[in-house]
């Protein structure tokens, strides 16, 4: 019997890993080392429960409860001048503990500070939409739904944004293969020609280095082209393709190298 390989992360991995490699960690600092952040955090702590907070790369990271997200962002926007939501999305931790980590990257133009609000949700849970606070969250939340399958409550139009509406699967999950699952591989054939056409059209060729000189359906040997589907013997006559027939074409002059003028002057 073959050994079972876990299917929770099917992304292609590099074939060489250093056994003694330790992933570098960005050092964390106390929030108290930055006055502006310390004041913001104190104000936030008065109203909401803060699970953890620290500074990394001059940005404050605050972990909160999932239910507080709307209130926290509203408070940040209206009271603490974090008026812009630069980005939001999710991180797949399903393999580790069946959770998603959701982050909201905020920017304050007056304080010139960036902070990141984070929380965890269980697989299958929905987040509260912040679309009413920041219009840009509309598309971000749709993208999060598209890529991770995380729904946003109270969102006005909770549909896929990038992939077609009838797509199955969430491509940014680590369980999703880069080259697509069975559904993705046959998507265009199934949709346009129907499932019966799979046999006629055939599977995708995903081997980018594949060259087969005996396959005249898919490959043409330069200078030895033959009609599609011809059996290749290896003794093909040279078949130099010219853009015009030998006999000339009605009313069209043939260009010959001899009659051409080569311009050497690059400044012409």
């Amino acid at each position: 019997m073959r050994a079972y390989t876990p299917k929770d992360d099917v992304q292609a991995k590099s074939y060489y890993t250093d056994r003694y490699y330790v992933a570098p960690q960005v050092p964390k600092q106390e929030v108290e080392t930055d006055e502006a952040f310390a004041a913001d955090l104190a104000a936030l702590k008065e109203k909401f429960e803060v699970k953890e907070a620290f500074i990394q790369m001059k940005q404050m990271i605050v972990y909160i409860n999932a239910n507080d997200i709307y209130g926290v962002l509203e408070f940040l926007r209206d009271e603490l001048t974090y008026t812009q939501l630069s980005e939001m999305s999710a991180i797949d931790w399903l393999a580790k503990d069946n959770t998603f980590e959701i982050f909201y990257q905020m920017l304050s133009m007056t304080k010139r500070k960036r902070l990141r609000i984070k929380f965890f949700i269980n697989n299958g849970d929905a987040v509260d939409s912040v679309e009413k606070l920041f219009r840009c969250a509309d598309w971000s939340e749709r993208e999060m739904f598209d890529m991770f399958g995380i729904e946003a409550n109270n969102h006005p139009f909770m549909k896929r944004i990038l992939l077609p509406y009838d797509w199955q699967g969430n491509p940014l999950l680590k369980t999703y293969p880069l080259e697509g699952d069975e559904f993705a591989a046959w998507y265009e054939v199934d949709k346009i020609y129907g499932k019966e056409a799979r046999d006629v059209i055939g599977p995708e060729i995903r081997d980018t280095a594949r060259v087969d000189r005996y396959d005249s359906e898919r490959f043409a040997r330069l200078g030895f082209e033959v009609p599609k589907g011809t059996e290749i013997t290896g003794n093909e006559e040279p078949n130099n393709q010219d853009y015009q027939e030998e006999g000339g074409v009605f009313l069209i002059k043939k260009f010959t190298k001899e009659s051409s003028k080569i311009i050497d002057d690059p400044q012409r």
Binding site: L162, L163, P164, P171, Y176, P177, L178, E179, G180, D181, A184, Y187, E188, V189, K191, I192, Y193, A197, V200, I201, E204, I205, R206, T208, Q241, D242, Y243, Q244, E245, V249, F250, L251, I252
Partner: protein
């Protein structure tokens, strides 16, 4: 016989040129290949350059049209995504026969560097293709050469309705 007989059929004696129907029809067809504006990605920029003044597609009678119903050739210039696949088929079906397809660049030929779930691995999975241009992106000269090869291909056809309509399946 008059002494100064004019040979009317030669030397420009009469404005008459003798040819066959096939030739004259194919001459017309091959020198007015109107192309459907179909820039899907970066290759589309090279296609636009071919149409602009430096490379000047108008010399070949190739004029870009914005409607498939007026176009003879579809130049698929760029990455065909799976989401877009049904639309390329629909546009191809709207073109009138005889119609041709030039697949321009690695992405349209084989999916190119996008070995991912979202890219159609070659637009010939969806529509029949006449000419594949290699390159990422092909230079405008390549596209010009491709159009000239297509003209040659058109000239080799019969003009009548006997031409088999191309179908992928």
């Amino acid at each position: 016989m008059a002494q100064h007989k004019v040979n009317y059929t030669q030397d420009g004696g009469l404005p008459v040129a003798l040819t066959s129907i096939d030739k004259i029809v194919n001459w017309g067809r091959s020198n007015s290949i109107w192309a459907l504006t179909y820039g899907l990605a970066c290759c589309g920029i090279e296609m636009m350059a071919s149409g602009a003044s430096r490379f000047d597609f108008d010399r070949y009678g190739t004029i870009f049209r914005a409607s498939p119903r007026q176009a003879d050739v579809m130049i698929v210039a760029g990455t065909l995504t799976k989401k877009h696949a049904e639309f390329i088929k629909r546009l191809y079906d709207q073109m009138t026969e005889p119609r041709w397809v030039i697949s321009m660049g690695s992405c349209a030929n084989t999916g190119g560097m996008f070995n991912t779930y979202a890219t159609v691995q070659g637009c010939d999975r969806v529509i029949p293709v006449d000419l594949y241009l290699p390159g990422c992106a092909p230079r405008p000269e390549t596209l010009q050469y491709g159009v000239m090869l297509l003209q040659k291909k058109i000239r080799a056809n019969k003009a009548g309705n006997a031409q088999k309509p191309k179908r992928l399946m």
